[in-house]
């Protein structure tokens, strides 16, 4: 039976049960076979490690030395946030290197999924800003479990032309301003979203809140909900909406500011009077990494720590880099333009609210979900 006959018979309902079963069986067999083909294609560059990272941090410019040495990029998988990454890895997704932020390291250490890193194998280790090497929760028993490579801020990106009254009064409060109802956005996350509400509602330590502070945070989230256009998952969403004027303000990371500014949009990145949030991200080696790839794993991390990567990351993304020497290579004027008040990360990280592990994360997530569901 050829294809035309099949469709005709199907359409006219003239197909016998046997013919139909036969067609179904062949369809079933095809469906079963299909995944095999694609699996082989994915395994093409199997001798490279797999790096699990954020969107935008996988581009070749950020690991040039690795490509120079091994001819091509390693394999990449992208996550939207560390929770998603963690859930995937717990469900059996095998990766060799991940690039989470420090506030997640204690949990990952508890889960036993990360292993100590031999810093003597990293040629750029000595150039890393010293204070980044000893962030609480990243060193256990004198062993380094985390290589700091990127740092930056979470703050409000806004349109000074649409909200001129905030230019000299930069505050997280713009995200609660009823005047901009339906034109505000916040990250759909705990650390970059719910923590903003915690800061706004005046929690003394947003990352370790009392019950009363939790209740105030919840009230702030509820108050904000009707004003929110959407909670964003991807920075592009909020960038496009700010560009079109759909949004007046939203929480973002530095790179959205750098991107939009270089595209000529009229945006400003706040230094809120309550303090911007600051964070440090970097590399972990997973305990179930492929032992045969360990040299390439160190090569990749070392390549990312290089001065060249640092200069690229600073100038193109507006993020800080772990390598202190990278800052010396960037024109101070360019730095100031990107919003760096200092080339010393200690000054910038110290001036903001540093993101650390949140106590009672599950309760916070539940709270956020309940607010979104209308409670």
């Amino acid at each position: 039976m050829n294809k035309d006959q099949l469709t005709e018979k199907l359409a006219t309902g003239k197909m016998s049960r046997r013919q139909f079963n036969k067609a179904l069986a062949s369809l079933g067999a095809t469906m079963v076979m299909m995944p095999m083909g694609s699996r082989m294609a994915l395994g093409a560059s199997g001798d490279h490690p797999t790096v699990f990272t954020w969107e935008g941090w996988e581009i070749p410019e950020l690991h040039g030395d690795y490509i120079a040495k091994h001819g091509e990029s390693p394999n990449f998988a992208i996550f939207a946030d560390e929770e998603e990454a963690f859930a995937k890895m717990r469900a059996g997704f095998k990766v060799d290197i991940t690039q989470p932020c420090t506030y997640k390291i204690p949990m990952w250490y508890d889960a036993g999924i990360i292993e100590p890193i031999d810093t003597s194998r990293l040629s750029n280790w000595s150039d890393i800003t010293p204070s980044l090497k000893t962030i609480p929760g990243t060193v256990y028993g004198g062993k380094q479990y985390f290589i700091p490579t990127d740092w930056g801020q979470t703050s409000v990106l806004y349109r000074p032309d649409l909200a001129p009254e905030y230019v000299d009064n930069e505050s997280w409060g713009i995200l609660w301003d009823p005047k901009y109802k339906g034109r505000l956005s916040m990250s759909d996350s705990l650390v970059d979203g719910v923590m903003v509400a915690a800061i706004y509602s005046g929690a003394e330590n947003p990352f370790d809140m009392t019950d009363a502070e939790m209740a105030k945070t919840r009230a702030a989230l509820k108050e904000q909900l009707p004003l929110i256009r959407f909670y964003w998952d991807s920075p592009t969403e909020v960038e496009q909406a700010l560009a079109s004027g759909e949004l007046v303000a939203g929480t973002t990371w530095n790179d959205s500011y750098a991107t939009m500014k270089s595209e000529g949009h009229n945006v400003a990145y706040m230094s809120p009077k309550e303090g911007a949030m600051t964070w440090v991200c970097g590399f972990c080696i997973m305990t179930d990494h492929d032992p045969a790839k360990i040299d390439k794993i160190y090569d990749y991390i070392d390549a990312y720590m290089s001065v060249e990567t640092g200069v690229y990351e600073i100038t193109e993304y507006g993020y800080g880099h772990g390598n202190a020497k990278a800052f010396e290579q960037v024109d101070p004027e360019v730095l100031a333009d990107l919003g760096f008040t200092s080339s010393n990360p200690d000054d910038m990280l110290g001036s903001g609210i540093f993101q650390v592990a949140m106590t009672n994360e599950a309760a916070l997530q539940e709270m956020f979900d309940e607010v979104k569901a209308g409670y």
Binding site: T7, E8, A11, T12, G13, N21, K22, L24, A25, G28, A29, M31, V32, D81, E83, E84, F86, A87, M107, D110, A111, G182, S189, L190, L225, I228, R229, F230, Y231, D233, A241, S244, G245, E246, E361, A362, Q365, E366, D369, E370, K372, A373, G374, Y375
Partner: protein, 302 residues
């Protein structure tokens, strides 16, 4: 019988059995799919069911039987409320899809005389792109600077774009109704196509007008297609979480988003499993009710 012990004899016997018994033949034909179904569908269901009776404590499961997750499901208002909301949204999607699909299927079945296949293929055209792309297409249609807003603006009907088009439950309904349209059109079309045309002529001959003929002959006879279409649309959309998270806005979340959150950010797989099980039971119960209702209706009109 002597032959049966030699290898070729065994083969012969097996062959005879194979040819003689319809069930054996059927299961052999089905076996690849059946295996995939057991491995890919039945097994995960068992895992999910088991998981729902465990508890989560920080990073570990407490593997002792407990009904705590189910108790929480009914104690905290959020879950039942979201479940009802999902059913409401999905019900609206189903009604909208079937109402829009019926005339389309009717047209192809009764009015299109030649090249029906082309029409059927045209209906599936939106399905040549991925589900995600179709959702994003609606974001472009309904968006702030989207097709509708900029169209109305350039025609002079609007000065400010309409913000209410996107990021609310209605946009979820619109997007889902379009995304699942073909799943409604095709079964309705098949059941309309199967209707014996002489019955319609008989209805007209016996003095019914076109509308009454439709109500008393065409509609009841096409009900199997309508039922199939409703189920095909309702079941998958109740648990959908991609569409609400992309076009639903801050208040558009459905039960699927909570399940996803439980398996993701919240790190509470057992609770997520319990919500999934409750969703499955509710949907199964609703379908049972729906089928029973339509069955008695068909009995009444028949």
């Amino acid at each position: 019988m002597n032959n049966a012990v030699t290898p070729s004899g065994i083969r012969l016997e097996l062959r005879k059995l194979f040819l003689k018994s319809e069930p054996v033949r059927g299961y052999t034909l089905l076996s690849p799919t059946l295996l995939a179904m057991i491995l890919g569908l039945a097994m995960p269901l068992v895992v999910l069911f088991t998981l729902s009776f465990w508890l989560q404590e920080y990073l570990d499961f407490i593997r002792t039987f407990s009904l705590a997750n189910y108790v929480e499901f009914f104690q905290k208002p959020i879950y039942v409320k979201l479940l009802l909301k999902s059913i409401r949204i999905s019900g609206m999607v189903t009604i909208a899809t079937v109402l829009l699909a019926y005339p389309m299927a009717y047209f192809i079945a009764f009015r299109v005389k030649s090249n029906k296949l082309i029409w059927l293929i045209l209906i599936t055209v939106p399905f040549w792109t991925s589900y995600l792309l179709r959702v994003f297409a609606w974001k472009i249609m309904l968006g702030y600077n989207g097709v509708i807003n900029s169209g109305l603006k350039s025609l002079g009907f609007l000065t400010e774009p309409l913000a209410f088009l996107l990021y609310n439950p209605t946009s979820v309904v619109i997007t889902l109704a379009h995304a699942w349209a073909a799943f409604a059109i095709l079964p309705i079309y098949v059941s309309l196509e199967k209707i014996d045309r002489s019955l319609l002529e008989a209805g007209r001959d016996l003095g019914e007008n076109a509308w009454m003929t439709f109500l008393r002959v065409t509609l009841p006879l096409s009900l199997p297609g309508v039922i199939a279409a409703s189920l095909l649309v309702f079941i998958p959309t109740v648990g959908d979480y991609v569409t609400p998270s992309l076009v639903g806005g801050p208040r558009g979340i459905m039960i699927g988003n909570i399940i996803q959150s439980m398996f993701g950010q919240s790190q509470n797989w057992p609770m997520g499993a319990a919500i999934s099980v409750m969703l499955m039971f509710t949907v199964a119960a609703m379908i049972g009710l729906f089928l029973w209702g339509t069955h008695s209706y068909r009995k009444r009109v028949a």
